[in-house]
């Protein structure tokens, strides 16, 4: 079985809908590491990230028929699945932690809490050292992207946490995106 190269998104979707093994292989080779990168930034250990990425592939495989090319991009769709699955996973772990009578993670004491759990699991510190383009964002913008994208806070929650008006959160998020697009342009 020869590997596939440079499939158009259209062809890939078609093959995925046919549950073609080569399509799986292609999907994995081209997208797994990026999806894994998103997941690693959301869940708190590489062990959990491995669980999540497997679920993500099962979901993509199972729900590819629901994907509508008219409504969006395949890659974005997959990233959203990865992100939501990871956020759900994180929430369910947080509930377990809460049952263990630990406080819910909070933006202020987050750092400390991670230190506490470091003994039993690999922590996010595992991933420190990988290149992070977000580090080049203006700090007050970066926090918005991180809280929204990787922590799953609503904008209302972010506004409360940071004590700024909701409208400001929205316009700053936009500013953050614009700078990010610029950085990505340079990165390419």
């Amino acid at each position: 079985m020869s590997p596939l190269h440079n499939l158009s998104e259209e062809t890939l979707i078609l093959l995925l809908k046919k549950k073609n093994q080569q399509a799986f292989s292609y999907l994995y080779d081209h997208y797994a590491s990026a999806l894994f990168g998103v997941i690693c930034r959301i869940v708190d250990s590489s062990e959990h990230a491995e669980e999540v990425i497997q679920d993500v592939f099962v979901k993509i495989w199972r729900h590819i028929d629901l994907f509508d090319t008219e409504k969006g991009r395949l890659y974005t769709w997959m990233i959203n699945i990865a992100r939501n699955t990871a956020l759900d996973h994180r929430k369910s772990k947080a509930i377990i932690n809460e049952k263990k009578n630990q406080p819910l993670s909070n933006i202020v004491n987050r750092e400390e809490e991670q230190d506490q759990s470091q003994n039993e699991q690999h922590t996010k510190a595992d991933f420190i050292g990988f290149k992070n383009i977000l580090d080049n964002l203006k700090p007050e913008w970066r926090i918005l992207i991180e809280m929204a994208y990787y922590e799953g806070y609503t904008q209302q929650e972010i506004a409360e946490q940071l004590a700024v008006p909701l409208g400001t959160v929205k316009t700053r998020t936009r500013a953050a995106f614009l700078q990010l697009q610029q950085l990505l342009k340079e990165y390419r």
């Binding site: 990026a34 999806l35 991009r73 974005t76 990233i79 316009t171």
Partner: protein, 278 residues
Amino acid sequence: MDIKAYISSGIIESYVLGLASEEEVSILNCIRKNNIEVEQAIAEAEIALEELADSQAMEMPMQLKQNIWDKLNAENLVPNQDIESTKYREIPSDDINEQISIKRNNAIVPLKSYRWAIAASLLLAISVGANIFMYQRNGDNQSQLDQQVSLLHKQQSKLAVLQDKWNLVQNPAIKTIPLKGVDNKPDYRALVFWDQASKAVYLSIEHMPVAPKGKQYQLWAMVDGKPVNAGVFPLDANEDIASKMLDIPTAQAFAITLEDVGGKDAPTLSALCVMGSI
């Protein structure tokens, strides 16, 4: 709606981050359909997150690919015909024994796979044949349709011309004067429609040969025994058309001569074709 203000409100970024409310999403979906700028901005924000993911990619742990493939099979998410290939393997090129054993496995069931191959080839051949046939038939149908459409157009324009003429005949102010062929051209016929109110004159060549190259039919009104130029019949006119000529206030007769293109000031009597008196 001010689209610039809408875009700069940050709603699109909220949307791609999955933070927009249901109401906001339905408004956005409605706008994006009709506004390329919004659609573009959404795509750009999505691409930014895609590229961010690319830039932050992490190496996948070994074995995970096989694990996931096994999982898909375990959950019956892979169709049965793939069952022989469900063992997902990346065969190391140096592992010759492995390759040989796989070849041997294949050799046990050659008949079965050939049968499938033959059936598949036959189906493919039939499908290709059917496609060619349908394609050609489609082509035939298309050209027939084209012919019919152009015929219809021709008939429609003919009908329009006849309707114009019919309107002239129906008009009570219009006097119709038949022009008949002169002695040596007995089968020539033409009609002059003369509007008694507006004095407008229309000429319809009913049965006369197309004017030879360099020549043109010219209409004359006979006013008190003298010919008055009533205009030339347009060279490019549809032969059935009733062409508007020059206005003629009074006349006792009309006549047509065949003149050089552009017409003349005085008729060439030897070139007289038809005439008719009122």
